[in-house]
């Protein structure tokens, strides 16, 4: 681990190392038929606790992410605690954000030494409302929200800007959609697990020019959970901890009109602070990018300087399953899971929040030095995964 990053503070610059030791997610579906949030979440939380052998008494910290606007009920997250088993009383926190930011809070808690283990979970049950309309409420309440521009409008403006700038074309965007959903064939939890070839996708009419149906994520109900652990505890709880080498999040201006919608400087800065571009560090073999709309993947690839050596979204990404408020946490979980399973040595995960990629979080996860020593098959698997995802 390098400690000579700018300021060093954003990376795990202290003496503590923190790792993802377990990840689980629900089946992602259009409508989790008749399940309450707690009922949807419970099997996922159970899965990570059972896999690590932890119970709530041994958890140092519990942190969740969700949005009351999806459920349409204030304090809806308190009910989800039923799924945790909060007795004896747990040290608990909640962010009204994607679970990736709950994971960030838990990571900081572990870095400070206040806890050795943490359960992080999040869920999004979008089927209760009209998601594109609900998302208008995340916008500037003075100049934007009174016009009710929905998430499709927001994405269309950004996609057009990218097309106009000549940074991408409709063929490449259809390729992103097809590659993502075909990759999800290997992800039994995903919602959309196959795609017609790009040429066929491009024959479709526009849904909202310049967007076609394939440029949009599905509307999804789903949940995810991660267990974090520090140092030796992490080594006790799993064979190949996915060490978080650095994590950072950065935010851009509120007003879309002052931003360059074709770029993501906040992602680039967060990645730099997370150590992604450290001198001498190898390119990540895997990237899990939170890009619900096809054009956003193009922006993020450029911001993160990803090249041919990196498999992007082998899980299918948010284009294959998009449980809002969990889709970012799932990116970290999927990246870490590949390290846990020995198919990745160095992965980058990204989560986004707000309109036009306004707020971005980047985490770098790595296998132990030992796991990347010659003779292990991690590299071969990664190469194979790369091949399959093409």
């Amino acid at each position: 681990m390098s400690d000579d990053r700018p300021n060093g503070a954003a990376g795990a610059g202290g003496s503590r190392e923190v790792a993802v030791v377990a990840f689980a997610q629900s089946d992602h579906v259009r409508r989790a038929d008749g399940l309450s949030e707690a009922e949807m979440l419970l099997p996922v939380v159970r899965e990570v606790l059972d896999r690590t052998g932890l119970d709530t008494e041994r958890l140092g910290f519990v942190c969740s992410g969700s949005s009351d606007y999806l459920a349409g009920r204030p304090f809806s997250f308190t009910m989800a605690l039923d799924a945790v088993g909060a007795w004896p009383p747990v040290s608990e926190s909640h962010v009204e954000m994607d679970g990736a930011w709950a994971l960030y809070e838990a990571w900081v808690k572990l870095l400070t030494g206040e806890a050795d283990t943490a359960l992080v979970y999040s869920w999004g049950k979008s089927s209760g409302g009209d998601l594109p309309e609900v998302l208008t409420r995340t916008l500037d309440p003075y100049y934007l929200a009174p016009l009710w521009p929905d998430s499709v409008a927001v994405a269309g403006l950004q996609t057009r800007a990218l097309l106009d700038a000549g940074i991408t074309d409709e063929r490449e965007l259809a390729g992103v959609a097809a590659r993502s959903r075909n990759a999800a064939a290997a992800n039994p939890r995903a919602q959309l697990r196959s795609s017609p070839p790009p040429e066929e996708l491009l024959a479709d009419d526009y849904l909202a020019e310049p967007l076609r149906r394939h440029d949009l994520p599905p509307v999804t109900d789903g949940a995810a959970a991660v267990v974090l652990a520090a140092g030796d505890t992490a080594r006790e709880l799993c064979a190949r901890p996915a060490w978080i080498r650095g994590m950072d999040h950065r935010i851009e201006a509120h007003s879309p009109g002052v931003r360059d919608l074709t770029d993501s400087p906040s992602t680039r800065l967060a990645a730099e602070r997370a150590g992604l571009f450290d001198e001498g560090a190898p390119a990540p073999d895997t990237a899990e990018l939170h890009a619900p709309f096809t054009a956003q993947e193009v922006i993020l690839r450029r911001a993160l300087r990803l090249g041919e050596d990196t498999v992007v979204n082998p899980s299918g990404g948010a284009l294959a399953a998009n449980p809002v408020m969990a889709a970012g946490l799932i990116r970290i979980g999927e990246a870490a899971d590949r390290v846990l399973r020995g198919t990745s040595r160095r992965a980058v995960a990204h989560a986004t929040s707000g309109p036009w990629l306004q707020h971005n979080l980047v985490a770098v996860v790595e296998a132990d030095e030992a796991a990347s020593a010659p003779g292990t098959d991690g590299g071969a698997d990664a190469a194979q995964a790369r091949e399959e995802s093409r």
Partner: protein
């Protein structure tokens, strides 16, 4: 949309959330929105000299307070756009339109709004010249701009004007200091499988609890999980119908719209077999004779989906030992 049950028997019902959000304005926002009411478009000069429209209170780069106002033109250039074939409730136009970012002449940043384009998406392009169409009635809100409309300027398209922003003191008579933004979202509420089973049983005047497989506690109303153990409760247990008053209070204040004479008694009632108490009104006994340990049973009224109140069964009072864990 009506209340209904799915194939799994889970219930659902419409839920509407509606608020008129009232927000106060900073001095820059106040000048901008008051200006719109007066058909004047104001921007603010940023720390780097750019003219920002719509204007903001704080610099997007340095975060310093911005106060230097300027006036820009009601005409501008589309910097990006997307088609909206099916407008939603609350959006600026009822017929298909383009969402646009427009850089007004004299401004260096763009404003998001709608473009009325009767010619359809084929008539819209980045770089096209547009002008503000003012709303007939204006109150000091972003919706005082009804939308943009194409500016028939011919070759001016290729030759955007070089308008300079003009100084403006931001002073108007009767400035707006706040906005009221109504917001409505429509949901379908689903209480989940366990609560659906509970509600379905109530229809038959039965009270169903669910038992935790780990600690054996019976929850009522059940929510599908034992909040202590964090495991699913899936064994249904029929409770009561009688129960024991574990604690109670005498209500002396008449609630608005409630057709019950005060004083009345509201209590916690542990139904026989339940691991925790539910609450309900206790009647059929003088209010000052209600006591802990009193044995009660539910009283249902015609068509009701839950007990109207509980009344004494006439049994001897329960021993304190039998319900002390349920207090």
């Amino acid at each position: 949309m009506t209340t209904g049950a799915s194939a799994t028997g889970a219930l659902s019902a419409p839920l509407v959330v509606e608020f008129p959000f009232t927000r106060s304005l900073g001095p820059v926002q106040s000048a901008f929105l008051t200006g719109l009411r007066e058909r004047t478009v104001l921007g603010v000069t940023a720390a780097d000299g750019r003219t920002l429209v719509p204007p903001v209170e704080y610099d997007p780069v340095t975060a310093q307070e911005l106060r230097t106002l300027v006036e820009v033109e009601p005409t501008g250039t589309v910097t990006t756009w997307t088609w909206n074939p099916a407008p939603r409730r609350g959006q600026p136009l009822a017929r298909p339109f383009a969402w646009v970012l427009v850089r007004l002449d004299g401004a260096d940043s763009a404003l998001l709004h709608a473009l009325d384009a009767p010619g359809g998406p084929a008539s819209v392009r980045t770089g096209m010249r547009v002008r503000i169409r003012w709303a007939a009635e204006r109150h000091g809100a972003i919706t005082d701009i009804a939308c943009f409309e194409p500016l028939d300027a011919g070759p001016a398209d290729e030759d955007p004007p070089t308008a300079q922003p003009r100084p403006h003191d931001g002073e108007f008579a009767d400035p707006v200091t706040g906005i009221t933004a109504p917001a409505r979202l429509d949901y379908t509420y689903t209480p989940g499988r366990a609560q659906s089973r509970f509600l379905a049983a109530l229809r038959d005047r039965r009270t169903l609890g669910e038992r935790c497989p780990a600690c054996r506690k019976v929850y009522v109303p059940p929510r599908g999980a034992c909040p202590t153990c964090g495991v699913a409760t899936d064994e249904q247990v029929e409770l009561g119908p009688a129960g024991t008053v574990t604690t109670f209070c005498v209500v002396n204040i008449k609630a608005k719209g409630l057709d019950i004479e005060v004083p009345y008694v509201y209590g916690h009632i542990a139904l026989d077999g339940a691991g925790l108490a539910l609450h309900g009104r206790i009647a059929g006994i003088p209010y000052d004779e209600v006591r802990m340990g009193l044995r009660v049973e539910p009283v249902w009224t015609e068509d009701s989906r839950y007990p109207d109140h509980y009344r004494p069964t006439g049994e001897p009072d329960a021993d304190y030992e039998s319900y002390k864990e349920l207090l």
